[in-house]
Symmetry: D2
Subunit: 337 residues, 4 copies
């Protein structure tokens, strides 16, 4: 059993913990948190040993009636691998610590690409991370774009990919983020950094991206254009994408018009936390104009990287190949709608 | 086993179906729907026999690959009781049908109080509905106010209750409702109809209400003032409310500042669909100024009436008394946070 | 003096009235409205003769203390030209009436292109509408795209234009429109109808568009890609666009990050109603990748068609050529920031 | 002519500048700003001498092509009175500077009440501030409540005032503020600080307040309850409030349902920046239940304190009494709808 420690038990960390626990070849030996709140309480209730990430704040946990298993250093020392799910920029600060205990670490997409040896996406470059000490699981958006680019490139060839990412302003629980009533070009300078981030997975891909931020919390939505090297029909594209295990093609008769109904579907089928681990592509939107493919996809920022983190654990430790790992992860989590 | 039919499988109906299924003294013999969509698909996947609510549209289900068990009339005929969870106003149109088959019916709070023999809230008037043919489970807001008023009236006496209901503009999946960026007095004339609705449960209560509509989808929030007939301390009020099984007092150290984090908590503890069946009262907000009690409570419009519907089934059929039914419902659903 | 009648005194109609009044070669002889409200009150205060659009409702105006000048038919009869600024689809119903009185009419972009003889954009096809009986001033989005396409096509040649239109869900005063918290592909099928609408002005342009709807009220925002036939530098594109009188390039040192600050700028410089008649293009966003131009522009849905309506009056009646009319309109309104 | 200096040229400062300029007994001798942006540009275009508030950043203005008149100290020295319209908390830091130059100063409601000698509202305590060195014009919400409380107390007597303030999350141009989709009790502990703030104007008033924050930008909305010492009819209350020059009673036939349409009305009648300096009270909402008065009012957070700042200038310098000043201010600004 792979002993997994999770540093950071917020939006991503808590989901990765549950996903790791669902696997039969790994277990969660502890989660670390900086301060007590409802999430720390839940971690304890779920039986995850709770570690304090900041020594001075350790007493706060006990004041809140939450028993600690120790300090984060002990967790790092004991783990075969650490999943760092701390807020953007904190992972970089933790790197030294992981090195000190010689524990390989996975970081999230909020960290800079050059912090790590290699960036990771299960569909894109599973085999490239084996044995690496520092690996970055790319962001939710980059994960979504990588899963889409891979089959298109393999089957039809990509001449140029152009994507407008209409991003949610904050997560449902992030009450101090905006905007309240605006559409923000973000960043204003073009092309945006999202394209280069996809290139950490596919160095040769020609891709330009534009980002915006809007007052919505549920999911990002991508307006995608791909100039292909060949001219398949829209149906051929649909058939190709339907074979991908982490792409969900929203069927026409579902009458789903946006992220609200997508999340409602996830809730109705019993998904934990209403999570949508798959890219959600409107089947109806897939269309071809000449060699230009167009489509819309919605990306659940809180969860699409969760199965990728699970796969990255096996990829780094070399315990399974891509097909095997993805199949195991999917099966254990219940991928597919 | 009580044979329960559910007419309307949307926001409320699908939740009531799952809650009924969780009980050991009743079962769902079928659900009726007007047209195929992702919810109809899920009903079938979950094994609920699916009935067409509108004869002419029956073929649409088969075109969508969804097998029908029959027409809604057959469901009504076979049921011991019908839960009508259709949109506001449709319940009134269905009444004749239920009479025709002599099947007692529960309606939702969107129907007029004078459509029915009696309105229902488990904490307020459980014993008054036995044997009634037409019973209305009061709305989410009235349910929330009734649960709060009952213990306060019993323990301290209520001189006057004044509540501002800041209501979500629409549910998460209702994409055509607004406002987008406004605060609407709604209704503009005062006091609002919410107070009289609470009086369908507590006829002698003195209550004035004011309603507003804002651009949020997760929960309603009530700003509550109760002029009490005595002057308890805030702690005495807290102690009283903590004894109520369907009031959840949000603890200070949870660091929950609004509905977003409340829903996140619900997700984390594994609540189906992230539902919050309890009134969510900020413990810290409970305060006394003279004999004036003030507090904030959040009400989950999609789910707080679900346990009430389950109780109403037993109340109408006379198969359990209030304490027994509430305990059974709570146990089966997993009430309490 | 051209005698202008305005049928419909809402968002567009009231702005066109003020803009027509500001010109020295035309005057507003009356405005028609279906029912009394604050806008009707203001029309009277401003001295616009008020006509009832629906005979049966005429008494309502007098009950509200608003004196009527007559029925809309009298206005149509007296006018040299009618600007129909009624809601989408009502213009089509009014067409017969305008024919009956042989009064040429301008319609708005909400009407179908095939209702009219020709669609109109001042920068695109001013000279093509002279003498036409029924002319459609294209929608706010199409106006914005036409103003941008014209100089690019003339100077650099357009191979293909691809635009994602992130549209505001409703206007600031439209409180029943949504979504509240969602990002909606709208329409879901691709490409959207916006591209073909631009082709009513530029029949030979190759353009694909995608539309979304988000919870914001202030302005639409376009994410624009133009594959050019040549490879200018970004500065050359900036220089070209800066010469256009109805394109406003937002300067870097203004620190404007979205529509909220754009509107604030409009208010600060004294624009009536905070209107932004120009396309608002982020100067910093203009960039070239190979022959691919990228940029962001914000479009004020309530007002960018207002100067176009004024120009269309002269264009239809043949009283000025494009350069002359645009200069007059701009000067009278105060175009340019 | 009173020589007025304005330190801070943002939301409030720029409006106060324009309002001061409109008076015939005072003039703006300069405005100070910390950094160049579109507002600084506009100040220069309007002919307000521009001063740098932070010496090190002075060169940034010239780099942006904006000529400076000097440093803020020179402005303070030259002024008869300073209106400090800097962000909350900065006023406190500036106090020493104003003392150094012996220039009396007006602060805004974001500063603590105990920073100053006395707090100010024109309708409440005009005569109490003459000769004071440090005066705080109370916040938008407190201004709105003071204007309402004064006539009610004088005419009917107030037993207890209870108000729920549903506050906009941020101003239209504040893009980093939230929440996006939530209703936040804010503060969670009750009663909120707004009540004590009203008592800085009316020390003997019994008032309890509750605050919430919602995703809207246009105006705050108050749900007001006043237990009166007598029992007037609703019409008597309406008649009383209609006599107040800074209360606007929204007439029923205006069909105004919220802040969006209120702002549209302001725009239509030509108000600068669409400002609403008056409390906007829904006439229809005014109602009496026993001795309990209920009503809704909307408060424009960006502008209702502007006329109060103008009056405070005269009040501090003793150049006019309350009636005279309010009449002058109203006349010059165009108060009344």
């Amino acid at each position: 059993m792979i002993q997994v420690g999770i540093n950071g038990y917020g939006t991503i960390g808590k989901r990765v913990a549950d996903a790791v626990r669902a696997q039969d070849d790994m277990e969660v030996i502890g989660v670390a948190k900086t301060r007590p709140n409802f999430e720390a309480e839940t971690a304890v209730k779920k039986g995850y040993p709770l570690y304090a990430a900041i020594e001075e704040r350790a007493p706060l946990f006990e004041e809140s009636g939450l028993e600690l298993a120790g300090m984060v250093e002990e967790l790092i020392d004991a783990a075969d691998i650490i999943v760092d799910a701390t807020p953007s920029g904190i992972g970089a600060q933790n790197k030294e610590l992981y090195d000190e205990y010689e524990t390989p670490a996975l970081y999230q997409g909020g960290e800079d690409a050059d912090l790590v040896d290699v960036s990771f996406n299960a569909r894109g470059n599973f085999s490239e991370v084996e044995g690496a000490d520092h690996v970055r699981v790319v962001s939710c958006n980059t994960t979504g774009l990588s899963r889409l680019a891979a089959p298109l490139e393999e089957e039809f060839g990509i001449e140029k990919m152009r994507v407008t990412l209409v991003r949610r302003g904050g997560d449902p629980g992030q009450t101090s983020r905006g905007p309240i009533n605006d559409i923000l070009p973000n960043p204003i300078t073009l092309p945006s950094h999202h394209g280069p981030d996809v290139k950490t997975i596919f160095p040769d891909l020609s891709i330009d991206t534009l980002g915006m931020k809007v007052p919505a919390t549920l999911m990002h939505t991508h307006s995608v254009n791909v100039s292909l090297e060949s001219e398949p029909t829209a149906d051929e594209v649909r058939d190709l994408l339907e074979q991908e295990s982490r792409l969900f093609l929203i069927r026409e008769n579902m009458n789903i018009d946006g992220a609200g109904k997508l999340k409602e579907l996830a809730h109705d089928i019993g998904r934990p936390r209403g999570d949508l681990w798959e890219n959600c592509i409107w089947r109806e939107s897939i269309s071809m104009e000449g060699n230009d493919l167009y489509l819309f996809q919605a990306i659940h920022q809180e969860s699409d990287v969760v199965p990728e983190n699970v796969d990255a654990i096996r990829a780094v430790l070399g315990t399974a190949d891509a097909a095997e790992s993805v199949a195991k992860t999917n099966e254990a989590m219940g991928m597919g709608i």
